[in-house]
Symmetry: C2
Subunit: 310 residues, 2 copies
């Protein structure tokens, strides 16, 4: 029996307790999971910087600290932490992003909203949409998330173009780069997915000029960063029909204030920054796998190099 | 230059004209497409039984009749038809089905409706759903469409169970068969997809007893056949929360009458029999490929055996 201490955010306990118990059982581990084991009896510590634990001194028997966060900068220099520290590499993050984007691309591709919003006894919307293979989707940003999204859309047979500032070659994808490549990609994007990082170079990337390059009625999906979009320009493009719909998950201010015009606009769907979130179930699997590996004498995955800081 | 006559449904001309012109160009064919070439100058006839053409006698130069329909029973015995006849095998049919099912599975998986219907300034629904890999989807019916759907859902990482009356083995899928297999599959189906054929054995397959086997709050998708569902039992299961939502594309009577309780039920989404439809773009590609093959001296695809009748 291993004693595992949950030292994550207290509000996370309700979700993490069953997720961790399931994951430990799936790894064949007998674990007593608790938020208040006596420190001297703890074998592993599940940790988050917004949890209650700072001083690791009393945990004399603990073999490792397993962080629920990818960023460990707030703990890596803690002098009382003298046992191995692992960080969270959650495969669920990119899977969740793929699911949000694939779902909303298919929603707009199929024109689902007219059915979801139009249950009034009228047998409408029989004009079938084109097949995915006849639908152009563009993904701006080809980092880990952009690439995973572009490949999943291509697997659904959409015609996918990918764009990034610098050249990337990706199997099965039509890619472009630089300002000229961007203009070409935008000109054929019936559905546009923004997955660029927030930098000074990408701020307001989707401005009035670039919105004007899209085919009339194009759909904009933003699960990336709020700063990528010039909000006034997007609202103007929606009002004149240049953009057909915008489904937005990220905003300059979050939660999006109740008075923001995005809420009231009939062609905007707001989702509350859910496209990429660490899932308790997948994070718990990463933790459980590492406990099992350590019990079996295997090296820990995602071990933090304390000198490097990550 | 080849003269191609469009003898399909007149209402289809607006969609088929550009689709056929694009498809002929993509095959490198120079084609004059029209609804009223002089019969003696026609090279190929694009035909549908609900179009204007019955008597093929005047088309003395025509090389083939290319049907837009899969079923050619109304034309196969026409005595004036003495040139080869091909039927439509539209790959788009199964692709369209995959897109409708994948889209609605993701819609329910992600809980999209609360965002689509709830744009009221409240930053709600931040509880992220489980990942697809933690979501059980069951597909009943493992014919060509059911198999394509199940494989696409598995590629999106859903946990997919497939069921059919007789045993089927499908790579990467957990399959079951027979009455006991059905009970097992239903018991874990968070999202249930009906893709069985309409037969006397499948009529009312989803009745009160089988609905009671589903996990509470399960979602039912029916893009298969209207007769598969006991409608009164489904409405009762929706009312008591046993079924969380039903998204239905097929009905015993179509169009679904305006007074049918499905229209008014807040947990039902009706779509107007659009999940599997022949698309002009993909049907046009089948036609154009056959014209090009014939020009190149290759055998026609999907040639009808007149003795067999299909």
């Amino acid at each position: 029996m291993l004693n595992v201490l949950y030292a994550g955010r207290p509000e996370g306990w309700a979700a993490y307790r069953p997720a961790l118990e399931t994951a430990f059982a799936e790894e064949g581990l007998e674990v007593a999971l608790s938020r208040d084991h006596p420190p001297a009896e703890v074998d592993y510590i599940v940790h988050a910087p917004n949890g209650p634990l700072r001083d690791f001194t009393p945990f004399v028997r603990a073999r490792a600290v397993l962080s629920l966060w990818a960023g460990v900068e707030s703990i890596v220099d803690e002098p009382s932490l003298r046992i191995p520290l692992t960080r969270m590499i959650d495969e669920g993050l990119s899977e969740g992003m793929v699911e949000w984007v694939a779902g909303h691309v298919l929603r707009h591709h199929l024109g689902m909203d007219r059915h979801i919003l139009g249950q009034d006894g009228i047998w409408r919307g029989q004009e079938v949409p084109p097949l995915a293979r006849d639908r152009q989707v563009a993904v701006l940003g080809l980092g880990a998330l952009g690439r995973a999204v572009a490949q999943a859309l291509a697997a659904l047979r959409f015609r996918v173009s990918g764009w990034s500032r610098t050249p990337h070659r990706i199997d099965g994808l039509d890619t472009a780069h630089g300002p000229e490549g961007l203009a070409e990609v935008l000109a054929r994007a019936e559905i546009l997915v923004l997955l660029l990082p927030a930098t000074s170079a990408t701020a307001n990337l989707l401005d009035a000029d670039r919105l004007a390059l899209l085919p009339r009625g194009a759909v904009v999906l933003n699960p990336g960063r709020g700063s990528l979009i010039d909000e006034a320009a997007l609202l103007a493009a929606l009002d004149r029909g240049q953009v057909g719909h915008a489904t937005l998950d990220v905003f300059r201010t979050e939660p999006l204030p109740p008075g923001h015009p995005f809420w009231a606009h009939p062609k905007v769907t707001v989702t509350p920054h859910i496209a990429a979130a660490t899932r308790p179930a997948s994070a718990a699997r990463v933790i459980a796998r590492n406990v099992r590996r350590d019990r079996d004498g295997l090296p820990l995955l995602y071990l933090v190099n304390r000198a490097q800081g990550y």
